[in-house]
């Protein structure tokens, strides 16, 4: 059994699995149940001046009969008094001293407001603070959440105000609703952030009801944009984590968030630079017990790979992530179809024929049997056929040895610039 403990910017955790600040961490009752189930930590539902929530808050996107491919919410920060939350944080920490409790905070972008809440929360005893600069709905209309998180100067200033009084590590949670996530990540670091967490939810409208023409969800016939999360956002989150991880000017530990549903997702985020991960939608879909599958899967994976600590994963794939201009233009793969494994659904053929490079032929063999064949000289190695193929192993993308050396676009442009006829 590998060592699953992590240390994120000075916060030691029993395992890399934390609950994200969200409905599952609303109360002491819930967080205690989560710790009993095995969660290493929890970021408490964001504290601030109590708000009023709407009824009808969540919606999901289902895909081909699968529930919750994506999840959308218009719930705001905690709607309970600060004192009640602090009391429950205290009780929970007392009962579970080895589990991490990070308090998520959101107040108006004023120095004294930040000082006040940081002092109150740290006095009760927490392992760290997470500044919610990400919530995209409701709070943003009041100048908080993503409204302040979209302005690098506000991110920097607010982080600085927190750091002026904080004694525990400060994590800045970033909004993905921005053109370049590294701009705000760097601002957080300039403000003194000990770590960053990302991503918060993405502006979204889950759907429109075909019968009533109301938004989904709607509040008495009216809707407003929410925040999108769940499996569908994972690739977006993974890219943003990777962009921060490979940017030397960021350079602080990352808590990865966004569509993490299984141990496999967690491993991917850690390989791309996350020290630990936060989870919400998977728990809202399946309950706290899902962490058992995450821990067990991660453990077996680490054992299989011969790794003794989960920390050995962190950032291992980051050097492999770069800019397009650094990719080798002479690298080539082509599709090969294993006719023994192929079930002749012809999906690769029609995908290639209609939408790619028309290089998968339908052929009839001498025995009268139909089979599919790639014209390798016309195959550009786009991978589409192997993506639509429903059978594992029927189509493999095979590397074709190149006679040319490595040549990237950047190298090519540089060579052209230096070329003198």
């Amino acid at each position: 059994m590998a060592d699953l403990r992590i240390n994120l910017a000075g916060i030691a955790s029993l395992n890399p699995f934390w609950l994200a600040s969200a409905p599952p961490t609303n109360t002491g009752y819930q967080v205690q149940r989560a710790f009993e189930a095995g969660w290493g930590g929890a970021v408490w539902k964001t504290l601030g001046d109590p708000i009023i929530n709407t009824s009808s808050r969540f919606a999901a996107v289902h895909f081909n009969g699968q529930r919750v491919a994506g999840f959308n919410n218009i719930e705001l920060i905690t709607d309970r008094p600060l004192e009640v939350n602090l009391k429950e944080i205290y009780e929970t920490k007392k009962r579970f001293p080895h589990n991490v409790i990070v308090a998520s905070l959101m107040v108006e972008p004023r120095q004294e407001k930040w000082h006040e809440i940081v002092k109150k929360v740290e006095a009760i005893g927490v392992d760290g603070l997470e500044l919610n600069f990400g919530c995209p709905h409701g709070m943003a209309e009041r100048g908080m959440g993503s409204a302040s998180g979209q302005q690098p100067d506000l991110v920097e200033a607010q982080t600085m105000w927190v750091k002026e009084v904080a004694t525990t590590p400060v994590i800045v949670k970033l909004t993905p609703n921005i053109t370049d996530i590294t701009a705000t990540a760097k601002a957080a670091v300039r403000g003194g952030a000990d770590a960053i967490s990302l991503i918060n939810t993405i502006n979204s409208l889950a759907g429109v009801d075909l019968d009533t023409w109301n938004t989904i969800p709607h509040v008495g016939g009216k809707g407003a944009h929410g925040g999108y999360c769940g499996p569908a956002v994972k690739p977006i989150a993974l890219n943003m984590v990777a962009e921060c991880a490979r940017n030397a000017a960021v350079g602080v530990p990352i808590s990865g968030i966004g569509g993490i549903s299984t141990w496999r997702d967690a491993v991917e985020f850690m390989l791309m630079g996350a020290t630990g991960v936060q989870v919400c939608t998977a728990v809202m879909h399946h309950g706290f017990r899902i962490v058992e599958e995450m821990i067990d899967g991660l453990n077996n994976f680490l054992d299989e790979k011969g790794l003794t600590s989960v920390t050995e994963l962190v950032g291992k794939s980051v050097p492999r992530y770069s800019d397009w201009g650094n990719l080798d233009l002479n690298y080539a793969v082509v599709a090969r179809i294993d006719t023994e494994t192929c079930i002749n659904c012809n999906k690769c053929h029609i995908a290639c024929e209609d939408t790619s490079h028309q290089c998968i032929d339908r052929v009839t063999g001498d025995d009268g049997k139909a089979y599919l064949q790639v014209r390798e000289e016309d195959c550009v190695g786009c991978n589409l056929c192997s993506i639509v193929c429903p059978v594992e192993g029927a189509i493999s993308m095979v590397e074709v040895p190149s006679e040319e050396g490595i040549m990237t676009w950047n190298e090519r442009q540089a060579a052209l610039a230096n070329f003198t006829p």
């Binding site: 081909n64 009969g65 699968q66 079930i343 002749n344 659904c345 012809n346 999906k347 053929h349 029609i350 339908r362 429903p390 059978v391």
Partner: protein, 453 residues
């Protein structure tokens, strides 16, 4: 005697459809499992060429109207076929997932979509604008309905002549209710009527109206009369009370259920699908003991495997290598027994198939109260002769691509053209033949003239 405890209501329950339709979640899961193959083998395996991936995708995307229309467009008796097609041998047998997991339940999904259309009283098609031509269809079974539907859409004035009280043929009268309730077939009839097709039921062509009259009054005729009664066995006792023709026997269970067989012992002679139907109907009519008597073995039996399994589950017994010799009557002219003889299969010179021959001295008597004959069906040969059509032993000779007979105005489809060596007689094949005949008539009377005009 348990007979005393069976009410008529109980018996009627026995004839309710055995298999439940898919529930919405089942249909959603199953339809989403379909790969939506391109040029899918299931479509090629369907005699009517239903665009199966398309109708399944329409179910998955909540477009049941479109799904039902896709099905019924290709197969005018697609609701019946969803229940009676040997899908393991057709679409589902061809499904590419057979090799990887489990084939898609295409028949059940087809039923799900068509059931929706039936429940929601959908009229799926419209008649074409009139082309001024008229066609008479002889026989309102699957082939006749299919031809009528297509011809009406082409713009023909169509009249169906149907001998029975209702149209639908085999689907309405010949397939056991617990597999195909008559209401399904009658909905298909309504769909055809909704296109303005005139349905003249209770009208026997050849008797109430002659072949010549039709040939004179219409621009073309589609002969789709199917097949007739079970032939005589040619043994003693065939006219005793309690000896039934399997076709009549099954037909009666589709219109009314009576208590005559409660507690009785029944022998069914033959081992085709009709024999199985007669046997399972007997069980459901309250018979105490039902046996199938067949002169060959299980291997030669022509019933589908699923029918055979179904009969075994119903408790039907099978006596292989057994042939009837004589039906024994009692004092009141009722059946009291069936004398049988054991058979063996031997090679006979000049015959490819082993022939059953009696084993001398092995006669024995089965004590039974009823005998149902299910040894095939005779043909409407006199009607075929009245039309003056070329035929082989009552199987009308046609051009297989068009269904055109030796008479240029007469086309034929369905069991009337089904003969030895043509594979299995299936409702779905009859439907396709009806479509082909309609298309050929349209070409002959309309489009070929347009092309030359």
């Amino acid at each position: 005697m348990r007979a005393a405890f069976i009410s008529l209501d109980d018996l009627k329950q026995n004839f309710a459809e055995v298999k439940a339709g898919m529930r919405p979640k089942e249909a959603s899961e199953e339809s989403n499992r379909c790969l939506y193959c391109y040029d899918a083998p299931c479509v090629q395996a369907c005699p009517t060429g239903i665009n199966i991936p398309s109708f399944i995708k329409k179910i998955a995307t909540g477009n049941l109207l479109g799904s039902a229309r896709t099905i019924m467009e290709a197969n005018p008796v697609g609701a019946s076929c969803s229940r009676v097609c040997p899908t393991e041998e057709l679409c589902e047998g061809a499904c590419v997932l057979n090799h990887e997991s489990k084939p898609i339940l295409i028949g059940d999904l087809q039923r799900y979509a068509t059931d929706w259309a039936i429940r929601n009283r959908q009229v799926l098609f419209q008649r074409g604008s009139s082309n001024g031509k008229s066609v008479a269809i002889v026989g309102g079974g699957p082939a006749g309905l299919s031809a009528a539907r297509e011809l009406a859409r082409f713009g023909f004035n169509v009249t169906i002549y149907e001998a029975k009280e209702q149209a639908g043929g085999l689907d309405t009268y010949g397939i056991v209710s617990f597999r195909l309730p008559p209401a399904i077939s009658l909905w298909e009839v309504e769909q055809v009527q909704a296109l303005g097709v005139t349905l003249r039921t209770g009208t026997k062509v050849g008797i109430d109206v002659t072949a010549d009259e039709l040939l004179q009054a219409y621009d073309a005729v589609v002969l789709a009369v199917g097949m007739s009664k079970v032939p005589m066995l040619g043994i003693e006792g065939e006219t005793l009370a309690g000896v039934y023709d399997a076709i009549d026997f099954v037909e009666r269970t589709k219109t009314e259920i009576d208590s005559q067989l409660i507690g009785k012992r029944v022998a069914v002679i033959g081992a085709g699908n009709t024999a199985i139907d007669a046997a399972t109907c007997s069980v459901r009519l309250g018979a105490d003991q039902v046996q199938i008597v067949y002169r060959r073995t299980e291997a030669e039996m022509t019933a589908y495997d699923f029918e055979f399994e179904f009969a075994k589950k119903d408790g039907v017994g099978f006596r292989w290598l057994t042939a009837p010799k004589r039906i024994i009557g009692g004092s009141d002219g009722e059946v009291v027994g069936l004398e049988c003889v054991r058979m063996e299969l031997v090679d006979v010179a000049g015959s490819g198939r082993k022939q059953p021959v009696p084993v001398a001295g092995t006669e024995f008597v089965l004590e039974v109260d009823a005998v149902v004959k299910a040894i095939g069906q005779t043909r409407y040969q006199s009607l075929i002769d009245q039309f003056g059509l070329a035929h082989v032993h009552g199987t009308v000779t046609v051009d297989p691509r068009t269904g055109q007979t030796s008479h240029p105005k007469v086309f034929a489809a369905g069991d009337v053209i089904f003969g030895g060596g043509q594979g299995e007689a299936m409702v779905v094949s009859a439907a396709q033949q009806g479509k082909l005949a309609a298309s050929a008539i349209n070409h002959q009377l309309v489009t070929s003239h347009n092309e030359t005009a």
